[in-house]
């Protein structure tokens, strides 16, 4: 993989931040966009800008072709059996809310149980908590092992005859570990439960095959995979989507409306109410093209290598806790704390050096509680990061330790 060539596609790396060349290591929050993505968005606005589906005119036709073409790219990116199984949403959060509302309000019943894990992002926890409260459902959580992996035995123990739904983070945004979703899919099938995968952190970094995985639903966010903000996708197995009630309603998703009620459009439009983020979808299609061109497998190897190198060098500093486990099942994320320095102070200092990392609870307060911390520093890598950038990170960490006399 030619990282130097790749970096040329990202004009943002010509920036200085606080007087230093930008080192962007907050990719698990959101990634940068290559010019190919921004240009696809611009081209849409300049050549084909119109609303989709509704109007009998050439502009609308062009917009619809681009928009539905992008959907097909997503379908093949995750090996869905049809583009009808891809629903555009704002991001992973909206995808999970769609599922919580539609399944929760219409398909789950009092006493039904939902299995989650304590390492879920708030987006895969709070929507279920709220629907559980409305409908008197019960949520049970599988724990994590001391070394920071999903406790699969605990998850098995949490599945009961009342389990109707299992929803699991594919790759943890804090620990970086990839959970064994294929195995969990089998457990779900055995239990007759719906299985949902939160792929917000995996889809950008590793090949996904929903057919092989055997999940019923999967969500991801475009802005975490080189795409624009405000767009993401929900994959749903066709039979599941057919049987499911819509989430939002309004224009486009209807077949026929009277004052008394309405019938629904075909898949996937049944789940897409109102004018969608057309430019966003087209941009995400371009992002997927970009990723396919580079090659996910190479990207993954590169990011894991950066993680291994970073973990090694950070560990050498001494006086650090690293929460990310070691292993080949861990993506390009390292979360850590330096003894005696609050993570915000670390992040704030790094920022002064032009190095952007995340500090905080990473929208995973329950996981933080498990790890017995309040928050942590996180560096997360993507295709355009380099070993030299890791070196700059580590050198800055050494300086902040000196500054804080720890």
């Amino acid at each position: 993989m030619k990282v130097e060539e790749i970096r040329k596609d990202f004009p943002i790396f010509q920036q200085q931040v606080n007087g230093h060349p930008l080192v962007y290591l907050d990719n698990a929050a959101t990634t940068q966009r290559p010019r190919q993505v921004v240009e696809a968005v611009m081209r849409f606005y300049q050549d084909a800008n119109a609303n989709v589906h509704r109007s009998v005119h050439t502009m609308s036709y062009r917009a619809t072709e681009l928009y539905e073409g992008a959907r097909k790219k997503i379908a093949s990116f995750i090996n869905a059996s049809s583009w009808r199984e891809i629903v555009w949403v704002r991001g992973a959060t909206e995808g999970l809310n769609l599922l919580a509302y539609s399944l929760g309000l219409y398909h789950l019943r009092e006493g039904d149980e939902i299995v989650l894990t304590v390492m879920e992002h708030h987006s895969n926890m709070v929507p279920w908590q709220r629907i559980a409260q409305l409908k008197n459902l019960r949520i049970v959580y599988a724990g994590v092992t001391p070394e920071g992996r999903l406790d699969i035995e605990d998850l098995k123990a949490k599945i009961s005859s009342r389990t109707r739904l299992i929803s699991v983070i594919h790759a943890s945004n804090v620990l970086g570990v990839v959970n064994p979703v294929g195995e969990i899919a089998q457990l779900a099938r055995d239990a007759g439960a719906i299985f949902i995968v939160d792929a917000a952190q995996s889809a950008p970094h590793m090949p996904i095959d929903v057919e092989a995985m055997g999940c019923d639903f999967l969500v991801a966010s475009g802005h975490k995979m080189l795409g624009p903000t405000g767009i993401g996708f929900l994959y749903g197995r066709r039979e599941r989507l057919e049987a499911m009630e819509p989430f939002q309603s309004g224009g486009d998703m209807i077949e026929h409306v009277t004052l008394e009620g309405a019938t629904w459009n075909e898949l996937p439009w049944k789940f897409e109410a109102g004018t969608p983020n057309i430019a966003g979808a087209i941009g995400l299609g371009a992002a997927v093209d970009y990723i396919n061109n580079v090659g996910l497998t190479d990207m993954l190897e590169h990011e894991k290598e950066l993680r291994r190198y970073a973990v090694e060098r950070i560990r050498e500093l001494g006086g650090v806790d690293i929460y990310t486990p070691d292993g080949d099942d861990v993506l390009g994320i390292v979360s850590f704390n330096i003894h005696g320095i609050h993570p915000h102070d670390v992040a704030g200092y790094l920022d002064q050096c032009g190095i952007e990392v995340r500090s905080g609870h990473h929208c995973t307060q329950p996981l933080m509680e498990c790890l017995r911390i309040e928050n942590a520093v996180r560096a997360s890598f993507y295709l355009y990061n380099t070993k030299e950038e890791v070196d700059r990170l580590v050198e800055a960490l050494a300086r902040v330790k000196k500054l804080f006399r720890v």
Partner: protein
């Protein structure tokens, strides 16, 4: 040249104003109705089988000149054909039968009748050829 060419239009208009096989069948073997939610056009097709062949076929519904003319053409075309033969009909076959080149935005109008017929006969959903 397009569907709005004067001569081409003549042909479409004639079928629009005087369609063949317009109406319904009492006690049809197969009846199916579907619309195009984005524009509100709707077509219903009734079929009476003759063994494994299309015996009688009628269409009803509402829509633009092109969708109505296409329904007229399709019903003429499949009369007497076996279900196997009809199943093999493609998008391209339909467009060829219409004869008039359609601009991309009118393809759905031209293909609606075929979509309804296939959905009625075989439960095939979606626009023909669109599913992969």
């Amino acid at each position: 040249m397009s569907e709005y060419d004067d001569v081409q239009m003549e042909y479409i208009l004639e079928l629009y104003r005087n369609p063949r096989n317009k109406g319904t069948i009492e006690n049809p073997d197969i009846t199916h109705q579907e619309g195009n939610p984005s524009c509100g056009d709707e077509i219903r097709i009734d079929v009476k089988l003759d063994g494994d062949r299309i015996g009688e076929i009628k269409f009803s519904g509402k829509g633009c000149a092109i969708s109505q003319a296409a329904a007229s053409i399709l019903t003429e075309m499949v009369k007497g054909k076996t279900l196997e033969e009809v199943k093999k009909l493609t998008k391209e076959d339909m467009l060829k039968a219409i004869g008039v080149p359609l601009s991309p935005i009118r393809l759905k109008c031209g293909l609606l009748a075929l979509k309804v017929l296939k959905a009625g006969l075989y439960g095939i959903k979606g626009w023909p050829g669109e599913e992969e």
